[in-house]
């Protein structure tokens, strides 16, 4: 009896799995972490909201397709995509060569630039190779690369996580930091409104250090979906929808060059 029950469970599980497999012709399913505000997060009622969700829906309106966002842990993103549990990774995933070996990416849909942050009254000299002799925090391999390239004489401290770097800027161990701008804005500047932290100077741009930006991950065989998503990104950027959403959530450019 237990055997039959086992079989039945197996069959119904199979049915559930195949029903869950996304069909390219109906709803497009995007995976998100729902844990990276303001790009994606859970609202109080449990629904998934954020800039990426609004952008995705605007793109789908262009494509005249129905889209839905599903929550997925970060580690399961690429395996989930490859096993057809959803059709796209719309989750602030950076386009890298390593990932491109297993999945394809659309064109970038954002690339928030790195920017310097310091307290009011700190004299940061962007034209100097040592940045004016300040102690500057950087993220390993990313903004560190930019400082090595453009400010080789700067006194830099290297961090593995933005949170640790923000703590040292707050405690005064660092005079300034070079950080990805949205994280610095939401993790530091808006969290400490009275501390006098602000972006200093123009964004730090360098394709060699900051890579190719953030795209939507799709399966390699879904070339049509990738093409129509690329068209949709171009369309929302052209008709002003993109800029309106950026203005609503951030108030400064996050597309980059």
């Amino acid at each position: 009896m237990f055997k039959t029950l086992g079989k039945m469970t197996a069959i119904s599980l199979l049915a559930a799995v195949s029903a869950g497999a996304a069909n390219a012709q109906d709803v497009i399913r995007f995976a998100t972490e729902a844990a990276y505000p303001p790009f994606n997060e859970r609202a109080a009622d449990g629904s998934i909201v954020g800039w990426e969700i609004d952008l995705g829906q605007a793109m789908c309106a262009h494509m005249k397709r129905e889209c839905e966002f599903v929550a997925q842990d970060w580690d399961g993103m690429i395996p989930g995509l490859l096993s057809n549990r959803f059709d796209g990774i719309f989750a602030s995933m950076t386009i890298t060569e390593e990932r491109k070996q297993r999945i394809d990416f659309t064109d970038k849909y954002y690339q928030s630039p790195a920017r310097f942050v310091s307290k009011d009254g700190v004299a940061l000299d962007r034209s100097a190779a040592d940045l004016g002799g300040l102690k500057v925090g950087a993220i390993a391999g990313v903004t560190e690369c930019y400082l090595n390239k453009f400010h080789p004489d700067a006194d830099i401290a290297i961090y593995r996580s933005s949170e640790d770097m923000f703590l040292d800027l707050q405690s005064g161990r660092l005079d300034a930091i070079l950080s990805e701008s949205v994280q610095a804005d939401f993790g530091l500047i808006r969290e400490n409104p009275d501390a006098g932290f602000a972006f200093r100077g123009e964004p730090a741009l360098d394709a060699g250090c900051f890579g190719a930006g953030i795209g939507i991950g799709v399966r390699k065989e879904d070339g049509d979906l990738r093409a129509s998503l690329n068209d949709a990104i171009a369309a929302v950027r052209a008709d002003g929808t993109y800029d309106a959403l950026v203005e609503k959530y951030f108030g400064y450019d996050i597309y980059g060059e």
Partner: protein, 245 residues
Amino acid sequence: MESLLESIRVFSSETSPLDFYLVLQNWSLFWKGLQNTLLLLVLSLIAGGLLAVPLAIIRATRVPILNPIAYGFIYFVRGTPLLVQLYVIYYGLSQFEAVRDSAAWVILREPWWCALIAFSIGTAAYTAEIFRGAIEDTPRGEVEATIAAGMSRVLAYRRIILPSAFRRALPAYGNEVIFNLHTTVIASTVTVIDVLGAARTFNNKYYLAYEGFITAALIFIAIVFVITRVFNLMERRMLRHLVRA
């Protein structure tokens, strides 16, 4: 010298799968890392050792009041990971404005000093327990001899019990020194450029993980080689009476 460098360059580009020429070009980075690692190791061993001796005596002789305090300290330090202790000292203390405004901030704001403090406390606790065991293992005959010779307790400790205990503790202490060397890599988590920090920086710069980390590993192997040689020599000299003919 020129030809040696040239042959390393040719070997790296044509024979070896690893680019050691690039490592040589960045020797100053690894040199800086080696200096920090050795300084942190030696200074923490000195500070930790100075702290460990009184702690061990307090524990071995069960000095009233002080003994439970010493035991509590050792229990706390051994009961928590060193990484956590370093984070508490480095990120934890800096949260308090009182600390940031105090004179101690001159030292506590520097990641290097925070690492030294954490390592010194850590090795003090472990070393104290090694010494305590050695003191308690003093042969009864030696203790009775000090009494028979009319030595005061202080004199007996200074002349007989401690030197004898240190000799017995030597092999275990050598182990602790090597262990302490390897724990110094934790300094790189608070932005200190030690040997591992140098390897990480190298990796971030060139995306060559093997070259940087193998170089770091070779440096550690070389340091451990020196440490074990030194302790072997010391053991051969000081534990001569225990060597079987």
